[in-house]
């Protein structure tokens, strides 16, 4: 099973676990399995149109899936998925 690391503020939606093991052939399937098992998490990651929120980046191991095959990126049991926000700002 692949592992999804859960950021601290989202652990309240996954029984306070810091990671969740999921099955899936792709990153998208794994994320779907995660949000199906923990529905309250979904609105934190996806907007009303069902797309990942603008500030949400998904990394497979150390690579941004945008530069791979996005949510169709194949997943192996040894893989780790990270949910990483985009953060910037200024005056």
């Amino acid at each position: 099973m692949a592992k999804i690391l859960i950021p601290t503020p989202l652990r309240q939606y996954v029984d306070k676990k810091d990671s969740v093991d999921v099955t899936g052939a792709t990153v998208g399937e794994a994320l779907n399995a995660l949000t199906t098992a923990h529905p309250d998490l979904k609105k934190n990651l996806y907007n009303d149109e069902g797309k990942l929120r603008s500030f949400v980046n998904i990394y497979l191991n150390d690579e941004d899936i945008r530069y791979m095959k996005k949510e169709s990126t194949p997943l192996a049991d040894s893989d780790t998925i990270s949910i990483v926000p985009s953060i910037a700002g200024g005056l």
């Binding site: 601290t8 990394y59 985009s86 953060i87 910037a88 005056l91």
Partner: protein, 138 residues
């Protein structure tokens, strides 16, 4: 409420002063107990914005991943982000709001003429439309 321990606070203020007149940025690692967040470690992170850094900052997601890994390794949590406003008050600007994330506390340090002036913490919402102030102790 978010409280920042002296050692972490010193790192944050030093980073803001040393990068002046540019904006600095970094991560805050600590613990959460109910409604109280305690920052024990301030992590200075390089401002990755490629333009004029006097008015902008950007955190690389890779650097945030490293901060999160460090927090996990220490048995703590990544609980916030900080950045500075050079020669400007510590408010949450429209640019801050439109590039924020609702998962973390956002501490803004006001630096005037290279010296720390004041700070505030904000909690942006998921829609990036508002960021109410959070009680901050340092």
């Amino acid at each position: 409420m978010i409280q920042i321990e002296p050692e972490a606070w010193q790192v944050m203020v030093s980073h803001a002063k040393s990068t002046y007149p540019n904006e600095c940025c970094g991560a805050m690692i600590g613990t959460v107990d109910g409604d109280v967040k305690t920052v024990k470690i301030g992590l200075a992170i390089e401002n990755a914005f490629t333009g004029v850094q006097h008015e902008r900052y950007e955190l690389r997601p890779e650097d945030l991943m490293k901060a999160d890994k460090e927090a996990r390794a220490r048995g703590m949590d990544l609980i916030g982000i900080f950045h500075s406003h050079p020669d400007c008050d510590a408010y949450f600007s429209e640019t801050d709001l439109k590039n924020s994330c609702p998962w973390y506390s956002f501490v803004v340090l006001s630096i005037y003429k290279g010296e720390f002036h004041h700070a505030n913490s904000f909690l942006p919402n998921a829609e990036q439309t508002e960021a109410p102030k959070e009680e901050l102790k340092y």
